[in-house]
């Protein structure tokens, strides 16, 4: 459905995106574009949404080059970053223009507006002017405009920025429903915790480079050379620490009250041995907590490594 083959994007002398290669399969599902500011998320979105041609390489969206390709643009919905609307404008009027730009008109347009407003839960409030709407309501209108023409690919740039927790949850639910309905969704964000809840596939970008691709566990597997932090709780934490040192897998160790924090180089060999030791009664563990097996840790490891 989406493929980049050594696609790069330059803004004059500035490299927005280094030559990048990846492929996203057809069908629904949510893909997260993760990275800090300046990582290249917006550059990648500009390529995918056909706003800019790639400086080198090849971009294919829905099987074709998206740049200035009306046939492809009509199948993509874009929700750009930001929350600035012409203040005097009404939501419905805005949607009408956007629908017309997508080639809708007459009863089909009105039906599409009602359907999109229904999906985002704004049927009764779309008559308001943008300056009378809350930020969450405006974000929902932005999403509705991208849904008007039933896009097969929906691209959202930092959609959670500035939303309150309730609005974020609502937006996540909407996106999940759309993905379940067969829409392919790409969400960019630097809010890692939220993306981890939302996405089933992640593209990790940093300084214009694609660092990793896959789901959280797959990305974690790429990090064998990085240590994983584990908290092993036990009445005799020193004994646990001694056993761990004997295994020769540690790159870090610190003791806290009632627990030992281990930085393990290769958890895939370390954890089975630890399991055997516990079963054999050699390791008096009461609890095991992976401290950094979440997206933030993955992100920090990868970005630290490339900084």
């Amino acid at each position: 459905m989406i493929s980049l083959n050594r696609a790069s994007l330059r803004y004059g002398q500035i490299l927005g995106l280094s030559p990048t290669t990846f492929e996203l399969p057809a069908g629904g599902g949510i893909t997260g574009l993760l990275g800090p500011n300046g990582a290249g998320k917006s550059s990648l979105i500009q390529l995918l949404s056909g706003l800019l041609p790639c400086s080198s390489g090849d971009v294919r969206v829905l099987g074709e080059e998206p740049y200035r390709n009306p046939a492809i643009l009509a199948r993509i919905g874009l929700v750009p970053e930001g929350d600035r609307f012409p203040s005097g404008l009404k939501g419905r009027g805005w949607l009408r223009m956007m629908g017309e730009l997508s080639g809708l008109e007459g009863p089909a347009l009105e039906a599409a507006i009602e359907k999109a407003l229904g999906i985002v839960g704004m049927e009764t409030r779309a008559h308001l002017r943008f300056n009378q709407m809350s930020k969450g309501m405006r974000q929902r209108i932005r999403l509705a405009q991208a849904l008007l023409h039933d896009p097969e690919l929906l691209i959202l740039d930092e959609p959670f920025n500035g939303l309150d927790p309730e609005a974020r949850i609502l937006l996540m639910e909407m996106l999940r429903k759309l993905a379940d309905g067969g829409v392919k969704i790409i969400v960019s964000s630097h809010i890692l915790g939220e993306i981890a809840q939302l996405t089933d596939r992640i593209l990790l970008l940093f300084r214009g480079r694609l660092l990793a691709e896959g789901n959280v566990a797959e990305i974690r597997e790429l990090l064998d050379r990085h240590p994983v932090e584990l908290r092993l709780s036990a009445e005799d934490a020193r004994a646990v620490a001694r056993w761990a040192v004997d295994q020769g897998e540690l790159v870090g160790l610190r003791l806290e009250e009632g627990s030992a924090i281990l930085a393990v180089r290769n958890p895939r060999t370390f954890l089975p041995r630890m399991q055997e030791a516990v079963v054999a009664g050699k390791l008096p563990l009461t609890a095991l907590d992976p401290l950094d097996l979440n997206l933030d840790a993955v992100f920090q490891y990868l970005t630290k490594d490339h900084a």
Binding site: P25, A26, G28, L78, P80, E105, L109, R201, N215
Partner: protein, 287 residues
């Protein structure tokens, strides 16, 4: 690995609505119509038109009424005559408020989209940059054209009604002044389009238009005075707009001659359309 939902069924072709140029123009036109400033300028233009019509009727009376025959010589001294009078229908009295009006409205056409970052969203639809430019430029030119048209057609129609083909206004006046209005509209539209494209907000767009219009007029005046060559006034869109009706009505001593007027107009239109095209291309539409 993630489980993907089935691919959506093929969607029906949506390529059947209005052209994007028409959609964008309609949208901006609707916003212009709702602007409160239109009421003020509408009143101002109506007043100017009434004065023009009053002057026209006075000329008619001085030529035809016995009661006004004593005033004929006096009227001929204070009122412009011949081609000058015909060209005056699109004279400074109309053009100066028109420049303010187009600066206020045209200055915001592109700048508003820049301020609210709407252009990326527009380009994410099947809209080509040239569609966007034509829509904005079309409206920027349509507005001054629509302002000028009543000043040509209403006095002409009134003259025909009250005095037939012997009235104070040439029966062929629209043939002279509608092309002039068109040239002025294209000139004003391209200047406002370029200025608006350079601005980051509608207010800045207004400032840019006034800066270009007044700045070039001042510069042209200085150059023309220093170098004793009136042709240097052609760097000013105001001077060019003043010259077109005079040239097309065949005035003996127009504000500018044909050559500088044509060169100046072509240069301005090309320059400002180029500026607008550069400033509104997709690479400028940063997400």
């Amino acid at each position: 690995m993630p489980i993907y939902a089935p691919t959506l069924p093929p969607r029906e072709n949506l390529d059947r609505g209005s052209h994007p140029i028409a959609v964008l123009m309609r949208f901006d036109f609707g916003r212009v119509m709702k602007a409160k400033l239109g009421i003020f300028f509408g009143f101002l233009f109506l007043l100017i038109l009434l004065i023009q019509l009053g002057s026209l009727y006075l000329r008619y009376l001085s030529n035809t009424s016995v009661a006004f025959s004593g005033m004929k010589d006096f009227a001929s001294q204070i009122l412009t005559q011949g081609p000058e009078y015909q060209a005056d229908h699109l004279g400074q009295a109309v053009l100066i408020p028109m420049w303010f009006q187009v600066a206020l409205i045209g200055g915001g056409l592109v700048a508003r989209d820049t301020l609210h970052r709407i252009r990326p969203l527009i380009y994410a639809h099947p809209v080509r940059p040239q569609d966007y430019l034509l829509a904005k430029g079309g409206l920027a030119a349509l507005l001054p054209f629509a302002i000028q048209l009543p000043f040509v057609l209403i006095p002409w129609a009134m003259s025909l009604m009250v005095a037939g083909k012997n009235g104070p206004i040439w029966t062929t006046l629209p043939l002279h002044l509608i092309p002039a209005a068109l040239m002025i509209a294209i000139l004003a539209g391209s200047v406002t389009l370029g200025a608006s494209a350079m601005a980051g907000s509608p207010r800045a767009g207004f400032g840019w238009v006034l800066g270009i219009v007044l700045g070039t007029f001042a510069l042209g005046g200085i150059l023309a005075g220093l170098l004793k060559a009136k042709a240097f006034l052609a760097i000013s869109p105001v001077a060019l707009a003043t010259a077109w009706p005079q040239l097309l009505c065949g005035m003996k001593d127009p504000f500018l001659d044909w050559v500088p007027t044509v060169i100046g107009t072509v240069a301005h239109v090309s320059l400002w359309i180029f500026v607008a095209a550069q400033r509104t291309k997709p690479s400028e539409a940063v997400l």
